[in-house]
Amino acid sequence: MNAPETTAAGLAGYNFAYLDEQTKRMIRRALLKAVAIPGYQVPFGSREMPLPYGWGTGGIQVTAAVLGRDDVLKVIDQGADDTTNAVSIRRFFARTAGVRTTTDTAEATLIQTRHRIPETRLREGQVLVFQVPIPEPLRWLEPRETETRRMHAWSEYGAMQTRLYEQIVRYGRIHQTYDYPVSVNDRYLMSPSPIPKFDNPKLHHNPALLLFGAGRERRLYAVPPYTDVRSLDFEDHPFEVEHWDAACALCGARDSYLDEIIVDDRGTRLHVCSDTDYCGRRQAVAREETA
């Protein structure tokens, strides 16, 4: 079989950005509701996508629904533009929608992400789409969906606070390092998707529109620009982000989220930025200065 022909508008035989217009409208309606009620999980009719659950089917459907012909798309996975997931999703939209893609955070109008928020500050007009595996922050505390919905409806979030209490009892501090629960607009408890808690402060009053899609669980939610997002904590055990003794070995950054990499069999460790675009840009600036 011949590969489908790629035209300027995308893949021949497919609608723009893969999904049919009816489905996109359905997703956009759900997104409007999600934006209107920040942090509230809106059910939607998630479709089968040409990639497995857990690879970003929720995020990819949201991206397809909001993508326009003039958008510039960036896709990251754990902060990197060059990992399998990021590359294949970026190529998917380049082929099915024919949109321009980039790795430059500042240039992108639409960014789909898994597990990170870019280090470069986002600006008004940008859209950040998160891939979410488990949208329900109360799921590990209460297995019944009927009950978690009631807990949201009546703002009964004592159980989540109890979980943080238990972590202090056992470890002397709040032990949660990723998917750290947040309260959105002082109303809904929300899972920020498995981003490190380092990124939680970036959710607060972010000028960009933040959209979350969970394909398997069929839920969408959103944080509109400049919304209050507070990480849960205690007065005497306030929320804190991670700190490293090391700086990035490649660009020397001390203000970014660092990955620890073991580089040989003797266990030599290297810390490097998880955001490849941010790191590369800093290295380029440093090279120019030395030249």
Binding site: A153, W154, A159, T162, Y165, E166, V169, D233, F234, H237
Partner: protein
């Protein structure tokens, strides 16, 4: 005892499919008063308690509760949000099985502090202080605070459940067979604590049990139920020592042997 009743139950009824869960039950409960409800299994005791707790919506009649701030409200006409708020601050429920009333994997301290966190306390140190105080009030050493209830004995679990309910200082406590499945000496200790706390805190209590010895120790007043109806009610000693209704006579003679 103040004049205004805390709880007014008026001709309450509930039907399960064919049979009646309870019929035409009416009573008043004043602050500081302990009401016992006795009867054999299937008499409608637990149904009545579930109606009082808002778990079930009544088929007939109503339950009126005198709140702290908002005057007298019909418990079932109240929105679910307001009812749940009332239930987690002003009304405590002690379940027969501690598994239904406790989080078995969360430490005893966490179990007790949960209701405070629910109502907005965000200071870890103070939460622990309060939880520890309540553990001691139910005679569990403060040192056991960080152990989960699944490592506790049945009697201790029931006492943790009691502390978890009392921490928000409710005015009404609903108890369903709180001594069920406990041996006699453990029962005695739980009853001792209950009696002391009820007295100290001026709690109003509705206690459902088939154990007339528990009723005799705790309850001021007693209602005997049979087939969903109240067949006899009065002061505890009066009902137990001089039962008038045939069913009460049977119940008293079959339990208080020797």
């Amino acid at each position: 005892m103040s004049a205004a009743p805390l709880l007014q139950v008026d001709r309450l009824g509930y039907r399960y499919g064919g049979g009646a869960g309870c019929r035409e039950v009416s009573f008043d409960l004043h602050p500081g008063e302990v009401l016992g409800i006795a009867g054999e299994s299937g008499a409608g005791k637990t149904t009545l308690l579930r109606l009082l707790a808002g778990d079930l919506a009544p088929g007939a009649g109503n339950v009126r509760y005198a709140t702290r701030g908002d005057g007298i409200v019909d418990l079932h006409a109240l929105g679910e949000a307001a009812r749940r708020r009332l239930l987690r601050t002003d009304i405590g429920i002690v379940r027969q099985n501690p598994r239904d009333g406790l989080r078995m994997d969360v430490s005893a301290g966490g179990n007790i502090a949960e209701r405070l966190m629910q109502t907005g306390t965000r200071h870890y140190g103070r939460l622990r202080e309060t939880a520890g105080d309540w553990l001691e009030a139910v005679e569990i050493p403060r040192a056991r605070m960080d152990d989960p209830p699944r490592e506790f004995s049945g009697g201790m679990q029931q006492r943790v459940q009691l502390a978890r309910n009392l921490v928000t200082q409710p005015r009404l406590l609903l108890m369903d067979e709180p001594t069920g499945g406990l041996d006699v000496s453990v029962q005695a200790r739980l009853l001792d604590i209950l009696r002391r706390l009820v007295h100290e805190l001026g709690l109003a209590v509705v206690i459902v049990t088939h154990d007339l010895a528990v009723i005799r120790l705790l309850a001021h007043r007693l209602m005997i139920m049979q087939n969903g109806r109240v067949v006899e009610e009065g002061l505890t000693d009066q009902v137990l020592d001089d039962p008038q209704h045939a069913y009460t006579q049977l119940l008293v003679s079959s339990i208080l042997k020797g």
